[in-house]
């Protein structure tokens, strides 16, 4: 249980110095509904954050693209069943780190890495790893919604069809479950057979989340999942992330400070390939240990 003083103050009443510091500094008007809500969520999180066991352990991790060293000596522990945000300016390596967790970088010819990355007992970086099984356990959601040009049903059923022998009705149940879980069922239940490309951007992204959870992963990686969405859809996806974090270990890359603040339990700040600071979100945001982190969070850097 984290009980920082400034965070507690924030939870006690809106408009305290702590809140002013984390939100006004990033040039947002404290009166807009989004910010008010985020302040509440943030404050609530500060009170309730209880980080569980470590799900993903990253140690002495280096990554490179050809000659370019993208990540240097990263050491990080990601707690289970919570949301961990990677923040940092563009090109700092946060997406690279995320994409190594399920070895998505395997399809990038130049990408290499060294060090240790484990999910529970599984050594992710071993050469003989069954990446298909890894990716079944570690789902990923991308920056731009990328539904397949197939029906809504087929999109969600795609993963289960790869991994499971399911009857037609079992598959239908699974699709419904995943769509309900991603808060999309009521909007699409009457048009499951229609193309997923007819959905709005926010709906498409929730569909991509449904598609990812339908295979039954333990970990969900999200690479700036809201950056192509409007504010309303962003909130819907964030609510969904909060809901999913009860059951899944979620790692989210974001450029949006508010989003990291409202949606994550712990935060890791990367800068130029190095991990500058990590810890519970309210601590990183209200009481950063490293002056560089503070500069970034308050908008003077990046």
């Amino acid at each position: 249980m984290m009980t920082d003083q400034p965070a507690k103050t924030a939870s006690a009443s809106a408009g305290t110095p702590a809140r002013a510091k984390s939100f006004n500094a990033t040039k947002h008007n404290g009166e807009t509904p989004i910010i008010r809500q985020s302040a509440e969520v943030f404050a609530e999180r500060a009170q309730n954050t209880q980080l569980g066991e470590t799900a993903i352990t990253i140690s002495n991790f280096d990554a490179r693209y050809g000659e370019f060293q993208a990540l240097k000596n990263i050491n990080l522990e990601i707690p289970e069943k919570s949301v961990t945000a990677f923040i940092g300016p563009s090109g700092c390596g946060k997406t690279t780190l995320l994409r190594w967790i399920n070895r998505m970088n395997d399809i990038v010819p130049e990408a290499r890495c060294s060090g240790k990355l484990t999910i529970r007992e599984l050594d992710v970086l071993q050469p003989r790893l069954d990446v298909v099984e890894l990716r079944r356990r570690v789902g990923i959601v991308f920056q731009k919604p990328n539904p397949f040009p197939k029906s809504i049903f087929e999109n969600v059923a795609f993963g289960p069809r790869l991994h499971y022998k399911a009857s037609r009705s079992e598959l239908a149940d699974l699709v419904e479950w995943a769509l309900r879980k991603s808060a999309l069922w009521d909007e699409v239940k009457d048009r499951l057979k229609q193309s997923a490309l007819g959905l709005s951007g926010g709906q498409q992204q929730r569909l991509c989340i449904a598609r990812a959870i339908a295979v039954g992963p333990e970990v969900l990686l999200m690479d700036e999942p809201c950056s192509a969405l409007d504010p309303r859809s962003t909130l819907a996806v964030e609510d969904l992330i909060a809901e999913l974090s009860k059951e899944y270990t979620i790692v989210i890359v974001t450029h949006n400070m508010q989003q990291a603040a409202r949606a994550s339990d712990s935060t890791a700040y990367l800068y130029e390939g190095e991990l500058i600071e990590s810890g519970p979100t309210h601590q990183v945001f209200t009481n950063p240990q490293n002056p560089e982190t503070e500069r970034y969070i308050t908008g003077r850097l990046g």
Partner: protein, 317 residues
């Protein structure tokens, strides 16, 4: 507010309207040219075909009903028979053999090039295919006649104990036409596959697909309209292919689907008539236009069909 461009002289635009007029005219003319050519061809084609059918000894019923095509037999209209089916059949046999070879091989090669091949292999294989596309068709014709047919006979001997392929046969011609179509199908299909956005591939990999599953369940379906286009273009090319069949398939109109026998295709017949010693106004000469009109109707029908299929199976991304 003063801007940097204020110090510059404004371009004289007084001739702008005139210039625009000429450019527009030129563009219309260029576009009109190809349409005009098409119209002229269709008018001549069908005009002469109508003259053919206007002849007293010719009926539609015979042309589309009879199975005998003997336009060069005898000198009187009575001794000649104009039933187009043997020619259509010859064309179809060659087309089916050619597409049966080129389509699967072309699509598999395209999938390999686009999804599997390392950059170096691709850099070698692509130009090799383009060389194949650059070989003159008459060379393929000779190749079919002097290489493929003997090989087919060798295989036939192996299985049946005797040579079965005639010197001119639809099998060898079909294989050669298939080889001719292979680069067309491969390169168009590969273009279609590579045009599928990377994000879709990543989505499929991210869900735990193998490379094969990514290719067959996501990339190929998403590129299907392009692949269908490629196939139809290849079929149209096959139906219209002339030199190979004129050399290797023979010149005996023959209603048979046996690839060992010689056939005459529609294009083969046209070559024979146009290059032979026939009067420019004789009925056999006019029959060439009737056959050409049928050929045109077939390729046109294919184009329409292709359009339908594309609309129906579109997985737009």
């Amino acid at each position: 507010m003063a801007s940097a461009s204020e110090s510059l002289n404004v371009r004289n635009r007084s001739l702008q309207g005139l210039q625009e007029f000429w450019i527009k005219g030129l563009l219309w003319l260029s576009a009109g040219f190809s349409i005009a050519i098409t119209v002229v061809i269709i008018v001549i084609l069908f005009g002469e075909a109508i003259r053919f059918f206007a002849d007293d000894s010719i009926t539609f019923a015979e042309f589309f009903g009879s199975t005998k095509w003997t336009p060069t037999v005898g000198t009187t209209a009575e001794s000649k028979s104009f039933g187009v089916w043997p020619l259509v059949c010859g064309t179809l046999v060659v087309t089916v053999i050619a597409i049966g070879i080129a389509l699967p091989l072309g699509i598999v090669t395209a999938i390999f090039l686009s999804e599997y091949a390392p950059r170096k292999v691709r850099a070698f294989l692509k130009p090799a295919l383009e060389i194949l596309a650059g070989v003159p068709t008459v060379v393929y014709g000779f190749f079919a006649l002097t290489f493929i047919t003997p090989q087919l006979n060798w295989v036939h001997q192996l299985f049946f104990g005797e040579e079965g392929f005639a010197a001119f046969n639809s099998g060898a011609a079909g294989i050669a036409v298939g080889i001719l179509c292979l680069p067309i199908i491969t390169s168009l299909t590969e273009d279609a596959l590579r045009a599928v956005p990377r994000s879709l591939r990543e989505a499929a990999y991210g869900l735990g697909s193998t490379r094969f599953e990514v290719a067959t369940r996501v990339v190929v379906p998403a590129a299907l309209s392009g692949i269908v286009s490629a196939a139809l273009l290849a079929i149209a090319r096959t139906i219209g292919e002339t030199m190979i069949v004129a050399l290797a398939a023979g010149s005996t109109p023959n209603l048979t689907v046996d690839p060992r026998d010689g056939v005459q295709t529609m294009t083969g017949f046209m070559v024979q008539i146009a290059g032979g010693d026939f009067s420019n106004f004789g009925i056999e000469y006019l029959s060439m236009y009737a056959v050409a009109a049928v050929l045109f109707a077939m390729t046109f029908g294919l184009t329409l069909l292709g359009h339908r299929i594309r609309v129906r199976f579109r997985e737009a991304y």
